[in-house]
Amino acid sequence: MTAKNPMKKSGKSATLTLKEHIVEIISDSGEGAQRCGQSLGSIAARMGNGIWTTEIIPAEIRPPARSVAGASGNRIRIGSSYITNGGDQTDLVVAFNEQVLLGRVRDRELKPGCIIILESMWRKHPDLNISTAYSETYDRLVAAGYNVRETPMEQECQLLNADPKRGKNMFALGMLCYIYSFDLQMAREQIALTFGKKAQSVIDANVKLLEAGHKWAVANLDFSFSIPATPTQQPQIVTNGNTALALGVMASGMELCSMYPITPATSASHYLSDVFEKVGGIVHQAEDEIAACAFAIGASYASKCTITITSGPGYSLKQEAIGLAVMAEIPLVVVNVQRGGPSTGQPTKIEQGDLMCAIFGSHGDAPKVVMAPATIEDCFYSIITARKIAEAFNMVVVVLSDASLSSSQQPFNRPQFNESWLAPPIDQSPVPEGARPYDWDATTGLARRFIPGQPGGMHTVTGLAHDRDSHVAYDPDINQESLRARSLKLAALQKTLTAPEVHGEAKGDLLLIGWGSTKGAIDEAVDALRAEGEKVSAINLRFLQPMQPGIKEIMQRFKKVMTIEINWSDNPDEEIIDEANRRYSSLAILLRSRYLVDVDCWSEVRGQPVKPSTIRRIALAKLKK
């Protein structure tokens, strides 16, 4: 069968104005689809559009070429206004081969009728297996109703570049700039920025490919879109969550990050390793996760609060050391960029499975603060807040990010540097006569800590039960008193927090509660439902331990309450699941036990961010129940 040529342009076509569009660029890994997608996202953000980019990452380092599992690329949701999440299904895909598309189709990531711009070189490939696979897949996609546009990207690039495998992504970027009516000059500037460290000849070659792609699209495509931007007045920056975390470390006044490589946390440390020294900071790569945590604790003990950044398995390994910091009341910030678990789980996939171990982890009663950034901007500010809380309360503060926040990009207001973010110099003044290293305040449990170098403050901190002088103590009263003091600090912090903001009206039929990165999708679903007349609202909990005040009062103003989470919960419809054995999702368990409110839950662990349309469907079903 020969392909129809859908690329013939018949007359001038009108540009369709849209509110938003989701576009994907996918290829074998190493073909530059990631870079193309990131650049497109940045160009859109420069245009003043809202964006949310999501990385499509193959699980293996070098997957075979043209394999379903090998799809690598980027997915960009472009909107007229602020975009808070990755959205639903994809509207347009650029694919460098047909195999990488199959996984996306299987996972129902593509919208029915989605436009597919497909590299056409495979049709005439000398290997019969490849050409047959291509034409069969093409036929199936067309039959399934996708709007497939075969495009000779390779052939066109060959006119400019001897090795079209390099640079095809910039050709695609040029096409996309035409399709979305983006300013080509902005694209040129973006390329200059992206390849800034390379030679001018590299930048020029890429700009040529960009222009060729644009020119080809002008001549051959019979459609284009415009997503009018509503630019904000504030200057914007675009980063992913891990970069935002690292910028937060830089701005928080912390001077040391001690880490061990682990996906998906490590890119924060990569970036920090590159830039931290410029402001006198150090990234120490320790021999293992335990050492990374112990090193951070040693540094915190002797100086300013330090940070250790990890993901699930590393977080598990650090538990005993975290308990030590709790016991000795040494400030410490621990970032856990959550991934799929348990065990090695799904290293590159999103999950919110570590909430319980963040709160209850480490043996014995080890109270620590647990926070969860909800947006990329939050990733930045949460580190500054975490450092301040850690030092003010001499506590461990756990910041739970996730694999979605870590690699997604979003524009946000450029932070205005504030001196008060930085940590004050450490106290080296003599300790007053008679002062004790753990002189717990009777009401708040707080005690001033003595830092080595302070004359008169000499004492030995210990992970053993200890009294106000830090002397090892087996006295029943002392153990009771010290656990009380460490617990009270959480209550003292809780008294300083404010109630979460309700998205939607303050009362209604259904309240959706989430934490972390699901905020954008939940709020969007709420907006859609409210537009349909449903009385649905949402809250997002930034603090999981202690919990903000006013949560019970908010819940009581709704007829039904349910959490939306990306961790495990049993489905009550299962044959052997009933109220006596049903395992709720993590936040639901916490809310039910704390507030004695009948909080239902919905959760899934597909390794994907939860979509607004999914939440809408779940909420509607819950309303009807």
Binding site: G253, G280, G457, T460
Partner: protein, 317 residues
């Protein structure tokens, strides 16, 4: 890491400290335990060197010997099992102005903390590390440790331990960047003090294995060496320790050993019938991690602000 100018409020002390200024509490070790001898040597070192108690930190893990910091009137960090070294590294990294000692036992260092031991040697930070090696777990009441001689009867090896002991000296000498390796025994106080002092003065990680008696669980284990002075071989060299006439008279087995000679050090450290006491290896040229990692940036609010704004510029749209 450079401290900001305001961090460095130095007050110069010229006061003299006596032994009692370093003593805290009454050690709860058994009578005859080698830890007492090590404590005495270290307190004497602090006094002789005039170490300021507030600028001195003893870091330990878990075990009998790890109680050590509680008996020093300095700052102390009694942490968790096996992790004394990374804690001490963190302290030294951000506070090179502090004098940091590490007290760790054979279980703490050579078993649960073995990974940190290997890497601590490689970092070569300016730490003085005492391996209190009594060849047995004491605090948990007699289990075989990695340095227990094969056949050691213990609560977990009632018919005798199954494996050859590991030799902490040969292992340390096998790791890149080893810069100071010595062996001492608790029952020769003069030599113990000389070695502790040399370790303190070494710039870099000084690793001192101290063979010590455990009168409670392995009372006879070191008797062959205690009762026969000829089985102790005192190492000396013009560039290392010098033997006092008194010591040389009691312990007649001497060996001139140049601590720069790594091959010879490895050979001697493997000897078991006659054990070497003294400095096996010393190399003053090996870089120290905390110095290698100095950024050279004086950290002020202005430096941070400028660096931060420059990064934001990269991400501006």
């Amino acid at each position: 890491m450079k401290s900001s100018a305001t961090d460095c409020l130095l007050k110069l002390y010229d006061e003299q400290h006596g032994l009692e200024d370093y003593q805290s509490g009454v050690p709860r070790w058994c009578t005859g335990c080698g830890d007492n001898a090590i404590l005495a040597a270290v307190q004497r070192l602090c006094r002789d060197e005039g170490l300021r108690p507030e600028k001195t930190v003893f870091v330990s893990g878990i075990g009998c010997s790890s109680r050590f910091p509680h008996y020093m009137k300095t700052y102390g960090f009694h942490g968790i099992h096996g992790r004394a070294l990374p804690v001490a590294e963190g302290i030294k990294m951000v506070r090179p102005d502090l004098t940091v000692f590490v007290n760790t036992g054979d279980g703490d260092c050579c078993s649960i903390g073995a990974a940190h031991w290997i890497h601590a040697i490689r970092y070569n930070m300016n730490l003085t590390v005492f391996l209190h090696d009594n060849q047995i777990y004491g605090l948990t009441k007699k289990q075989a440790s990695p340095t227990s001689p094969i056949g050691t009867k213990s609560n977990t090896t009632p018919r005798g331990s199954y494996l050859d002991a590991l030799n902490p000296l040969t292992i340390t000498l096998g790791v890149a960047n080893a810069s100071f390796v010595a062996q001492a025994v608790d029952w020769i106080p003069e030599s113990l003090f000389d070695i502790v002092k040399a370790a303190y003065h070494h710039q870099g990680l000084s690793f001192v294995r101290i063979l010590q008696r455990c009168p409670e669980w392995l009372p006879k284990s070191l008797d062959p060496w205690m009762q026969d002075p000829d089985r102790i071989q005192l190492l000396h060299h013009e560039n290392a320790l010098h033997l006092s006439p008194g010591l040389a008279k009691v312990y007649k087995n001497h060996l001139v050993h140049d601590p720069m000679d790594m091959n010879r050090a490895r050979e001697i450290s493997g000897h078991e019938d006659i054990i070497p006491v003294g400095i096996l290896y010393q190399n003053r040229e090996i870089p120290r991690y905390e110095e290698t990692r100095q950024t050279g940036v004086l950290r002020t609010t202005e430096t941070v602000r400028k660096g931060f704004e420059a990064e934001l510029d990269k991400y501006s749209v």
